[in-house]
Amino acid sequence: MFDTREMAAAERVTNLRLVADKVAPLALARERTMPLLPALTSLFPEGGLRRGSIVATDGVGATSLALAVAAGPSAAGSWTAVVGDPGLGLAAAAESGLVLERMLVIDPNAGQGSDKGAAGVVAALVGAIDVVLVGPGVRIRPADVRRLSARMRERGSVLIRVGAIDEPGVDIGLRIVESEWTGLGVGHGLLRARRVRIETQGRGSAARPRGAAFLLPGPHGEPVALGEPAPEHELRPVLQALA
C-alpha cells in the first residue's frame, strides 16, 4: 500500500516551497540600491545607485552629472550633503531634481581646532546621510578612501566625487566625452540644453563599459535620456524672437 497521507504531505511541502520562492521579496542587489532618475538608469548595471559605492564624474559637465546622479535618491526622500563645494549652483541642483529641504552644505575647513578635514567630515556623515557629494577641490588620501569605503558599504551611503575619476576606490566612473550646447547662436538665442555622451568605467558589475547620449542639463535643467536624436522642436531656442 502507498502511504498516501505522507505523499500528500510531501507534495504540500514542495508546493509550499514553490510558492515561497515566488513570493519571497526580491532581496538581491536591487534591495541595496537607491532609485535614480529614470533618465540615468541605463548607465548603472543595477539600474539604481548601489549603496556603499563611490561614483565619480569627469569631463565638461561633471558637476551637472553629479547633481543628476544625486537627484534620484534625494527625490525619493534621502538627504544630500555637499562637502567642500561652496560654489555649487543651488538653482541648478534644484532644477536637476534635488530637494533643497533635505540638503546640507558643509565647509570641512571651517573648524580651527579640527584636523579631520574632508575625510573626517564625510566619515561623520556616512550612515546618517544617504548621498554625500564631494566637490572638485577636495583631496582625500587613498588610505582614507579605503577606510571610508568600508564604512560606506557597512552603512549604505553613496559618495559622489566631482572630477576624481582616476583615483583609487572609485566603483563607477562616469565620463562626459562629448558635449555640445544647443540654443545659443552667434548674437542670438539662449543656452537651452547640452547634448552629452557619457561613458562609464568601473569595477565589478560596472566593468563592462556603457555609453549613452543625454541632454544634461535638459531644457528645464533636468537630465533627459536621448534614445535617438531628440526631435528638433525640443531643442529649438525659446527666445528666438531676441535675434
Binding site: 526622500g77 534644484a94 532644477e95 533643497l100 546640507l104 555640445e180 539662449l190 547640452r194
Partner: protein, 520 residues
C-alpha cells in the same frame, strides 16, 4: 487627589533680558525665522510672538533682531535660581526664566504661602537687580500656578481647592496645544471651564491621550493621573570624574556619555523622562541639584545640554556661589517618568527617521566645526544665480519639516522679471574672477547706456589665455535698486560659449568683466 501645591516664579521677557538687553529697547529674539520673545517696547509696536522676521521688522523699523541663545538664557538664570537655594533645595527649572517649587515644606516652615511668595520675590529681586520684574503665582498644580503667575500683579495666590474655579473662565488657548484647541474652538468650547464640563470618558474617546491630558489640566488636576506614574526603581545613574574637572567642556563630555546611557536604559524599558534631577558634586562635597522639566520627553542631547547649562552657570558664576573645587561626580536621576508613547515617525512626508538622523549629524558637525560650517539652502528672490538661493546656517532653522521657500506669500511665489530661464548654471563661484571680453579688433567690448554692445565679442581672455568664442547672446542689462544709493547695481549679462565647450555667464559691472557663473 488634589495636585501638589506649587509656586511658580516667572520673569517676563527672559530671552530678551538674558541677552543683556534693556526692556525699553526695541528687541525681538527669533528662532527659525519666527519671533519667540519681544521686549515691551517692541510689543507696543505690535511685534508679537510667532511673527516672521520680515513682518516684525516692518512693524517696528528700529527693531533689533537677535538670534536665540538658549544656553545663555539657561546660564544667566542660574544665579537667580541660586538665590532660592536656602528656601528649598529642589527648584525645578520649567524653562529658563520660569521656575517652580513644591510648596508643602516651605509653606509650613516660613509660615504660609504669602510669606514664601514674598521671600521668593525678595531673593530673586536681589539676584536680578531690577533687570526685569518677577511674578509669582501659587496654586494647586504647576499648570494653574503657571497661569496664576501670568495673571499676577505681582503675586497671585489661589486658595487651596479653588484652582478649578480660577481656571474656568480662562481662554482655551492657554493649553498651548494649537491643534487641539483649534478643534475645540470650532466646537464652541472657548474657555477651560466649558471644556472641563465635558465627561472625561467622551474626551478620551474623541481626542485620545493628548485630549485626556488637556482635559485633566483644564479641570485643575495633574496632567496624568497619579496611578499612571510608574513607581521608579532606582533609575539614577552617575559617573565619577577623576581627576575632578574644573572645565565645563570636560564635564559636558562625561555628561553626554552618561545621558546616552540613561537614555538607552529608559528606552529599553519603554519609559521616557519628563523631569530629571541633575546633581553635581565637587571634590569638597559641595553639591548643586536642579530639576529640569520638558514638555515633550527629554532626549539624550537635551539632557546633556541641561547639564552643561546648569554647571556653566555654577562654575562660571559669581565668586560667592562658585564651588571651591572641580566637579568630581555627576548624577542623573529621572525624577518623573511616563510610559514612552513613542513618536510614530512618518513614512512619507512629515517627520521621518531620516530627517531625525540628518538633524543629529548636522548638530554634531556644528559642534565640531562651528555653527557656520553647516549651511542649508534657502530660496530668496533675485535675478542673479547667487541671489536666488542663499546658504543660511543650519543652526538658525528647524531642519525637520522645513520649507526652503521663504519667498512664498500666501502660497504664491512673486515673479522676478529679468531672471535667466532654466537651465541654471551649475557653478556659482563665491568670488567671481575678472576676465576680458574682446571684439575682432582686440578692443574691450563695452555696453552703452541704452543696453547695446559696442561690437560682437570674439574672444574671452581668462588669466592671460585667449579663448575664441563660438556662441554668445546678450547683453541683458539689469538696473537694480536704483532708488538706493548704496545698493544700486547696474550690470549687463552675456551668455558666452567658448570653443572648448564651456558655457559661462559673463557680467559687465563698473567697466570690468566678470565670470559670475558657469554651466559645468
Amino acid at each position: 487627589m488634589a495636585p501638589v501645591r506649587t509656586l511658580v516664579a516667572w520673569c517676563p521677557d527672559w530671552p530678551v533680558v538674558a541677552l543683556g538687553r534693556e526692556l525699553h529697547e526695541s528687541v525681538a529674539v527669533i528662532f527659525a525665522n519666527r519671533v519667540i520673545a519681544a521686549s515691551p517696547a517692541a510689543r507696543q509696536h505690535g511685534v508679537a510672538r510667532g511673527l516672521r522676521r520680515r513682518v516684525a521688522q516692518s512693524r517696528c523699523a528700529d527693531l533689533d533682531v537677535i538670534e536665540r541663545d538658549e544656553a545663555r538664557e539657561a546660564r544667566s538664570f542660574e544665579p537667580v535660581l541660586a538665590a532660592l537655594d536656602d528656601i528649598t533645595p529642589r527648584v525645578e527649572v520649567t524653562r529658563p526664566g520660569t521656575c517652580a517649587i513644591a510648596m508643602r515644606g516651605p509653606s509650613r516652615y516660613f509660615g504660609g504661602d504669602e510669606a514664601v511668595a514674598d521671600l521668593v520675590r525678595q531673593r530673586m529681586g536681589e539676584a536680578l537687580a531690577g533687570r526685569t520684574e518677577i511674578r509669582v503665582g501659587i496654586a494647586d498644580g504647576p499648570f494653574a500656578a503657571g497661569l496664576a503667575a501670568r495673571a499676577a500683579r505681582p503675586t497671585r495666590i489661589i486658595e487651596e481647592g479653588t484652582s478649578p474655579g480660577f481656571l474656568a473662565p480662562m481662554s482655551i488657548s492657554v493649553l498651548e496645544r494649537p491643534e487641539l484647541t483649534d478643534v475645540l474652538v470650532r466646537l464652541g468650547l472657548r474657555s477651560l471651564g466649558s471644556f472641563a464640563d465635558l465627561p472625561p470618558a467622551d474626551v478620551l474617546a474623541r481626542f485620545g491621550d493628548e485630549g485626556r491630558g488637556a482635559h485633566r489640566l483644564a479641570s485643575g488636576l495633574e496632567e496624568r493621573p497619579p496611578d499612571a506614574r510608574l513607581a521608579p526603581p532606582d533609575w539614577s545613574i552617575s559617573t565619577e570624574i577623576d581627576p575632578p574637572a574644573d572645565r565645563i567642556d570636560r564635564v559636558a563630555f562625561c555628561a553626554r556619555t552618561l545621558a546616552d546611557d540613561l537614555h538607552q536604559r529608559l528606552e529599553h524599558d519603554g519609559i521616557s523622562c519628563v523631569r530629571i534631577a541633575i546633581e553635581a558634586e565637587t571634590e569638597y562635597g559641595e553639591t548643586l541639584l536642579r530639576l529640569w522639566r520638558h514638555e515633550g520627553a527629554l532626549s539624550a542631547a537635551a539632557i546633556a545640554d541641561r547639564v552643561r547649562w546648569q554647571l556653566d552657570g555654577w562654575l562660571n558664576g559669581s565668586a560667592a556661589t562658585r564651588p571651591s573645587g572641580g566637579i568630581a561626580r555627576v548624577t542623573l536621576v529621572p525624577d518623573e517618568i511616563v510610559p514612552a508613547k513613542g513618536r510614530q515617525l512618518g513614512f512619507w512626508g512629515g517627520e521621518t527617521e531620516v530627517d531625525e538622523r540628518a538633524a543629529r549629524v548636522a548638530a554634531r558637525l556644528q559642534g565640531q566645526l562651528g555653527a557656520d560650517a553647516v549651511m542649508v539652502p534657502e530660496r530668496r528672490g533675485g535675478r542673479h544665480p547667487d541671489e536666488q538661493l542663499v546658504l543660511v546656517p543650519a543652526a538658525t532653522v528647524e531642519l525637520r519639516g522645513r520649507s526652503a521657500d521663504e519667498r512664498a506669500v500666501d502660497g504664491e511665489v512673486p515673479p522676478w522679471p529679468g531672471q535667466l530661464p532654466a537651465p541654471s548654471p551649475s557653478r556659482v563661484p563665491a568670488k567671481p574672477h575678472a576676465v576680458e571680453l574682446t571684439d575682432a579688433a582686440g578692443e574691450m567690448v563695452t555696453v552703452t547706456g541704452r543696453g547695446l554692445a559696442s561690437a560682437p565679442p570674439v574672444a574671452l581672455v581668462i588669466r592671460g589665455r585667449t579663448v575664441p568664442i563660438s556662441g554668445w547672446a546678450g547683453p541683458w542689462p539689469v538696473d537694480e535698486r536704483w532708488w538706493d544709493t548704496d545698493d544700486h547695481r547696474r550690470r549687463a549679462r552675456f551668455q558666452i560659449l567658448t570653443e572648448d565647450g564651456q558655457a559661462r555667464l559673463v557680467t559687465l559691472e563698473h567697466g570690468q568683466w566678470w565670470v559670475t557663473a558657469l554651466w559645468d
